[in-house]
């Protein structure tokens, strides 16, 4: 299955980390099988596309139905909505407070500029400085206020998510995990939180402007300015003109003229305009509102709209370019893109009888010079066996038979011939090579010989080692156990110890 290029969203990132955390204790093979089955053998696509496809399949499965990504995104949206609401309320309240006019004393232009423009400009400057030099991220405890606030926020988000305690704990753990992986998600976290604060800022300004317009529209506002400092109307006019530079070409009516500035200087001592113009001045003093409204828009709303747009775009850009090259995600991509190879048996093994433990066979009585009948089992070389027999089992060879091959008589005929050839006292020696296993054919031969020669005739299985070495202990043990399974007290085993 080919998966095209697709971008990850914030919910995807949370779900990815949640699932990686869940998978931490699971074996690699089990994960490989699960993930490969989920994507149905994905063979192509970029990293994000593969991960996205995997997440979608995972969410559709029982295992991933409760992944917390969507809950976290919902919680973030809720927080964002609450912040917007708070911004609207705080903005309109602030504007209503600052623009409060009870008819006794006009609204101070300085106050409006200071609260609705100056403070915002200072905060904006601090914000830009903190973006350029993020001291809060250095880990200094007392300066890490923003990180602490972020931690609180994430925890609050986790607690807001629906579900039982375990789910909340998982979300908290995932958030902690995401935050611990600063290299991957540090900037994403910063810009996500940044966007939330800017949404608040925009709402604050919108609230302030709405309140401003409401007061302008439905009440008669009178503005004035005053100062203790040695600032004359000309200087104040220049300040106002500088502030009005951005819109002076577009809305020239919103640039206060020198005459307006001179006419609206207020004296608290006299409780009247310094120019003493009376009611006409009061009417003219209402002319400040256009200037103040555009000042709030220009220096409050527009910068916040810009930073909100920047944060939104930046966050989207970061999400679209997540490296997805860390160790854990690389492991996931391996699981998604490589086939599951299985080589083990599917069914349980049926095991034949295993004779446990060592079984000692009776040793043959020492040879007295009597003769024997020698049976060479499956190409056991006579030239090796025969010269060594007196030393090994104390007997000389009367007759030699070959057994175990396709040539010659069958088992019954062979056994009959051997029984006929043996005198009453002859031992039956069956010479075998020790490295060959005592298989069913050999055991059958011994059993048939026993039936043919009677219960008390010694049958001695003579073991010959490979080359010049005697049979090993392990070989002797194996042969002993297998021959013991015949339960024959007159069947003995004699390893042939050849002279060096």
């Amino acid at each position: 299955m080919a998966i095209g290029t697709r971008r990850l969203g914030l919910a995807d990132v949370v779900d990815l980390e949640a699932q990686l955390a869940r998978d931490a204790g699971t074996g690699a093979d089990a994960l490989h099988r699960r993930d490969r089955a989920l994507v149905g053998g994905a063979t192509s696509g970029d990293r994000a596309g593969l991960v996205k496809g995997w997440l979608e399949a995972l969410r559709a499965s029982a295992a991933g139905r409760d992944l917390p990504g969507r809950a976290v995104v919902r919680a973030l949206r809720t927080v964002g909505a609450l912040l917007v609401l708070a911004g609207l309320v705080v903005g309109s309240s602030t504007a209503t407070l600052v623009l409060g006019y009870d008819g006794a004393r006009p609204v101070n232009v300085w106050d409006v500029l200071l609260v609705l423009v100056g403070v915002q400009l200072v905060l904006l400057a601090l914000l830009l400085v903190s973006l350029a030099a993020p001291v809060g991220s250095l880990g200094v405890p007392l300066l890490g206020l923003s990180r602490w606030l972020a931690q609180r926020l994430w925890r609050a988000l986790a607690q807001r998510s629906p579900g039982v305690d375990a789910r909340q704990r998982e979300i908290a753990a995932v958030v902690a995990r995401v935050r611990a992986r600063q290299r991957l998600y540090g900037r994403l976290e910063t810009w996500t939180l940044f966007a939330l604060t800017q949404a608040f800022g925009v709402a604050f300004n919108v609230g302030a402007l709405v309140a401003f317009l409401r007061l302008v529209t439905f009440t008669d506002l009178v503005f004035a300015w005053s100062t203790t400092l040695d600032v004359d109307a000309g200087a104040f006019h220049r300040i106002a003109a500088v502030l009005a530079t951005p819109w002076q070409q577009v809305v020239p009516d919103a640039v206060p003229g020198l005459d307006l500035v001179e006419a609206t200087r207020w004296s608290r001592l006299t409780g009247a305009f310094v120019g003493g113009a009376g009611p006409a001045a009061s009417v003219r003093a209402g002319g400040w509102w256009r200037f103040l409204l555009l000042a709030v828009i220009t220096y409050g709303l527009v910068p916040r709209l810009c930073t909100l747009t920047l944060a939104t775009l930046r966050r989207r850009w970061l999400l679209g370019r997540l490296p997805l090259d860390d160790v854990e995600v690389q492991g996931l991509l391996d699981r998604l893109s490589l086939p599951v190879v299985s080589t083990r048996a599917g069914a349980a093994e049926v095991v034949g009888e295993v004779v446990a433990g060592s079984r000692a066979l009776p040793r043959p009585p020492a040879g007295t010079g009597g003769s024997c009948v020698l049976v060479l089992w499956r190409d056991t070389p006579r030239a090796v066996v025969e010269p060594e027999l007196p030393r090994g089992v104390g007997s000389g060879v009367r007759t030699v038979f070959e057994a175990g091959g396709r040539r010659g008589p069958g088992v019954a005929a062979l056994v009959s011939a051997i029984a006929s050839a043996a005198d009453g006292d002859d031992r039956l020696l069956v010479a075998c090579e020790s490295w060959e296993a005592p298989d069913a054919a050999l055991l059958e031969l011994v059993a048939e010989l026993r039936r043919a020669v009677g219960l008390r005739r010694w049958i001695v299985v003579v073991l010959v080692g490979a080359g010049s070495r005697p049979p090993t202990a392990a070989e002797v043990d194996l042969w002993s156990r297998r021959l013991a399974s015949l339960a024959d007290p007159y069947t003995a085993l004699a390893p042939l110890m050849r002279a060096p």
Binding site: V140, V341, T343, R344, G352, W435
Partner: protein, 474 residues
């Protein structure tokens, strides 16, 4: 059969199950010195994404080949009728327990499986083996002989002339010490047995190689994760006011060491599981001695951590005041002891910050931790922190142990049973053979991991991946 199948046949106790176990990487196969433990044909399908590409068949061993061949030859079939004669034998003896094993091993061959005939090349060739080889030749199926050596001897030269007469291909294959590359080479030979099998075998071989690469990367992740965790692992415990440090020290030390050893054990089990080793066990000397204790609790570290925050802040304030006093003295007191006061405040503040940092590392950092630290400071409490391990040899010992274990796991044939004893490497095993540049690079990485620097963990995994490539080249 629609997919290639290979019946591993031969006399009892010649290593058939060992070869299957190694080729199928299945250590659940029963391997006994007892002959005749394999009583049924057992299939080991090699599946890629669930699709069977070929199957290995472990079979019971020949026990009465002479009688079987005698029965076949008695029918005197023409060469064209020999496969039918073998089938007739199987049909005629289907219920005969004397020939049960022969019937079961011949059946899949008659159904289309290729023949992998196993002999023991450590022991001499005997003409009676020709009976088995002749029966297999009569089946008419493509055949390959595998010379498996069970023991120290080498009689391969004796076997070759005979095997060459009966088999298209003859390969030596030591099931107990074969490498992955040798296994792949054998699979490549399988594909030559029948041209119709090449495509499936090629796909299987490619998948097996890719799987091997994946395992190596996974192992690098496990080992790199172990190192990163071990190098940053710390334990912290508050000490009650007035309680002697030594009371806390012992149990905390033991917990610290036990946890490190447990992490190493877990990582080892993960690597073993990756390579399909579920039965074999690895025995290694646990980390001990200078690898752990010697560097972990250096007296200096302990004493610094044993100071109360008040002592540290007091010491900082005094030292700051001394410096400030020097400035006051230099200007002849014109500063009205401003230098002394400011120096004391700054010195004490710096020390407090330092305490906060240290406690923060132990207890999580952030404003809340700092406030808690301040509370501890006011209460005169102490925090004992153990780790992270600062010993310069520690990461090298840990890495060396992991590499030695990895090499053993990756190269251990699945036919091996029992316990594998690892050498007691203490920084003198595989890492001792690394070049100066590689060592310097790793040392820098260790330092960065200890500082929790950025993507040092990922880089460490990458470097370890390179080291594993050298240990398990594919």
């Amino acid at each position: 059969m629609s997919t290639p199948a290979f019946a591993v046949v031969g006399r009892v106790n010649k290593g058939k199950s060992s070869i299957v176990s190694t080729l199928a990487e299945d250590d659940s196969v029963r391997i006994e010195p007892e002959p005749g433990t394999t009583v049924e044909v057992r299939a080991y399908p090699v599946m890629v994404d669930g699709e069977v590409l070929f199957t290995l068949l472990d079979t019971p061993g020949f026990q009465r080949a002479g009688e079987v061949l005698a029965w076949l030859e008695a029918r005197q079939p023409s060469a064209a009728d020999r496969p039918a004669a073998v089938r007739a034998f199987v049909d005629a003896h289907a219920g005969d327990p004397r020939f049960g094993d022969e019937c079961r091993l011949l059946a899949p061959i008659l159904d289309g499986a290729g023949v992998l005939y196993v002999v023991d090349g450590a022991h001499p060739y005997r003409p009676n083996y020709e009976e088995e080889m002749e029966i297999l030749r009569w089946t008419g199926r493509p055949r390959m002989a595998l010379v498996n050596r069970i023991g120290a001897g080498d009689a391969t030269a004796e076997w070759r002339p005979a095997l060459d007469q009966f088999f298209t291909f003859v390969r030596e294959f030591d099931a107990h010490s074969v490498t992955f590359e040798e296994r792949v080479a054998l699979l490549r030979a399988f594909r030559e047995l029948d041209p119709g099998w090449r495509d499936a075998m090629d796909r299987a071989i490619a998948a097996l190689i890719a799987e091997r690469h994946r395992r190596r990367r996974e192992a690098a992740r496990v080992i790199g994760g172990l190192l990163a965790d071990a190098l940053t692992f710390a334990l912290a415990a508050p000490v009650a006011p007035g309680a002697p440090l030594d009371v806390e020290r012992g149990p905390l030390e033991r917990r610290f060491h036990d946890e490190l050893r447990a992490r190493e054990e877990r990582a080892r089990r993960e690597v073993e599981a990756l390579y399909g080793h579920r039965v074999a066990s690895w025995q290694a000397v646990a980390m001990q001695g200078t690898a752990l204790e010697g560097d972990l609790f250096a007296l200096e570290v302990w004493e610094i951590l044993g100071l109360t925050p008040g002592q540290l802040v007091g010491a900082g304030a005094v030292s700051g005041a001394v410096v400030g006093g020097g400035i006051d003295a230099a200007v002849g007191g014109a500063s009205i002891f401003t230098g002394t006061v400011l120096g004391g405040v700054l010195g004490g503040g710096a020390a407090l910050w330092s305490v906060g940092r240290r406690f923060a590392r132990a207890s999580g950092g952030g404003l809340v931790s700092t406030l808690r630290d301040a509370q501890r400071y006011l209460e005169g409490g102490r925090m004992v922190r153990i780790g992270p391990h600062r010993g310069p040899a520690f990461p090298w010992v840990l890495l060396d142990r992991a590499l030695v274990h990895y090499r053993s796991v990756a190269t251990l044939a699945h036919a091996r049973r029992g316990t594998v004893t690892l050498p007691a490497a203490q920084g003198e095993g595989i890492v001792a053979q690394l070049g100066t540049v590689e060592r310097a690079r790793l040392e820098r990485l260790f330092q960065r991991v200890r500082r929790r620097s950025g993507d040092a963990r990922d880089e460490l995994v990458e470097r370890i991946g390179k080291l594993l490539e050298g240990l398990d080249p594919v």
